[in-house]
Subunit: 158 residues, 6 copies
């Protein structure tokens, strides 16, 4: 098992020094599931042409993209990284849940997992915000990394 | 059931106009659960005096507080609110999970639910970031509102 | 004619002291016109149900709202103001131009003109950004204040 | 004519993936014209040594530079780019108008048009803010790209 | 002697709850001294009409004002406060030093000491930045609170 | 003696054009000294296991790291730089003073002195904030560059 890389031998927190790592193309995809409940989700998708799903999911994509770009402002020891790709898919998973996927990519000395996770999380919170007048019993679950490539080791969620 | 207040009759998204609402004292508490797994959590809490729990949980509290103050920069239609209180408790829930509670309060024309949720979420992501070198199989669950008071109607999660 | 309130007798720039002014409800509406040209605008509005107008105008509304909330970060001597309302309308004006209106409101010691202007301007730049792959000959014009109320004197553009 | 690159086949908005583009030196110059009117402009430039023009134009340069650096925070799908050059010239054009030129440059996988446009626009709004106590009938016009080089195709405004 | 109000009985850091305090008019003035050395300061003030002092001190005022407005983004447990006044004076103190005074004011439940200190500090760092090509042996000293009023107790530096 | 690189021949302030400089690995260390006084420092370090020093110094490290990453938002003409390393040490220097060292590093066309100075300064202000309820007579001194390498010329403070 690896070390807690953000805590040094004096038990002080700090940024990992990545200055000697190689620049490689990094990619990561994260997921987040918003449990809205049947009533909200049905109402959200009502109407073929003019459902509320359009503006709500689009606002979530925009909020998620903007948050992913600024991840290093939110997570104290994240390195600033100029994102080159940030792609969202937001789709109803069943009659009660919406699934968010966020894929980030860049060429850098460190990975973009936190960018993908922060992007998915901000999109989920935005959906929450735009539906909370209908019900407060919304829950965000399963915020997790799905895949990651380009660093020391790849990762694939089971 | 209520309306989707952030989408107008032309299906355009937008901020809710709260300018005619009364200023009252608002409070909200949100929760988020980080499932770290037994190995990480045990390693995290090892050592009575100098466990890694200290710096990691403290970094999470600071990140969560700073994120809560800037919620309106992340959630597109959140109103800017000058937070007067932002209190965290982060505690191991069992051998695999850490529970985050974030309570926000202010006197305003609208509530602080999103501030509490965003604070809890940022604290959870920060714990994730500081433990991800040990394992990538961390999941954030149950990000939800626990209680809310001071607005049109109170809320208590069941 | 009035003074240049942001430059003192030593010719130093600075924030206006509003601490002794009264809190009143302020509102301002600003305009900005994006000249896209016939080709872009036609292509943008093509397709009854799935025109590109939807996502582009909605992205502009979101960008404009988020920029309006953070006006004091962009304009050096603007006072921070907690916006209570920020409403956009974006509509094709003719076969070549799109008109943006942004209305901001809050209760404060100073007005929200710059918030409305900054919001309209950010929405215009966002439309520019999303159409610039089609043509670089886009121009933003007529960024100006339309109305203002609630302060020492009202204003109505002629 | 090209595509709307920021809207996908499902009509969802999103960032363009530039991860496979080559890093080249990019430069762009944008313009913005502030119509202040004869009275303001004359008053602004009065006094050989201590005109108000000094602090107002300098504040505009600083605001424009700071805004250009943060363009990706304002324009939702702009890529974060570390600017290496940001140069302003602000000059009276005639007895009623001030002309702003902003040139941005960096080595990146995508261009700096939006940085130049956002910089010029923020400088124009700052001049507006600092003159608005004298008159509300100020207009910002002609915010447009003048030249661009270093990408797939160069551009020169006619 | 008082308590460390930002650390609770479990030794966890956190924001002070000010939600039950009364809104009063608060003011604070802070100081910072930049020791530039004789050579820089003389060169800076050379030329009656067109000394470098103009643009450098003005840039410092603008940077300090903008930083003061965003103090709660830099200092983790500072409450967000809408500043109503932020006034700078920057003056050569002798042949080697420049003195910065920053006065902040607002009506709030908590004081503006950190805003004044952060403003003075950002102005000092900006002067440093603009003079550092001339010499690296610049030092910032005496960053401290001079006066404070409007809270539980006033303060006057000795 | 060198030029004031941030002020041009028309006495206008502006960013230095670094687009033709070579990318090299840059490193800089800055210092800041917080004079807390004997009473605060003793109280701060009281208790072997649970001294207030832990949370206060850790909060300062986090605030300093986050500020260093955003230096270009505070200092008007600083270039945005993706920091690859940001390391703090905060140690009591004697019975009244705490010494902060901040080392920043990245590969870039320009140096990281301002990042190190801004990081040290934000950490110092955070310690101030967390101790100010105990005494207002705290002073921050000696904010200065200690070493710098990787650019045109190295520097070592005497």
């Amino acid at each position: 098992m690896n070390e807690f890389t953000h805590v040094d031998s004096n038990n002080q927190p700090g940024m990992v020094d990545v200055s000697d790592k190689t620049i490689t193309k990094r990619e990561a995809t994260a997921e987040s599931i918003v449990t809205l409940g049947t009533e909200i989700l049905q109402q959200l998708t009502d109407g073929d042409i003019q459902s509320k799903k359009g503006p709500i999911f689009q606002t979530a994509i925009i909020a998620g993209t903007m948050a992913a770009k600024r991840t290093h402002e939110t997570i104290p020891f994240c390195h600033p990284l100029p994102l080159e790709k940030c792609k969202f898919s937001i789709t109803p998973l069943n009659t009660t849940q919406v699934q968010i996927h966020c894929t980030c990519s860049t060429s850098a000395r460190t990975g973009v997992e936190m960018e993908a996770l922060n992007g998915a999380s901000a999109a989920a919170l935005t959906i929450y915000d735009m539906c909370k007048a209908v019900s407060k019993a919304i829950t965000i679950n399963n915020t997790r990394l799905l895949t990651k490539s380009g660093g020391k080791s790849d990762f694939q969620a089971t």
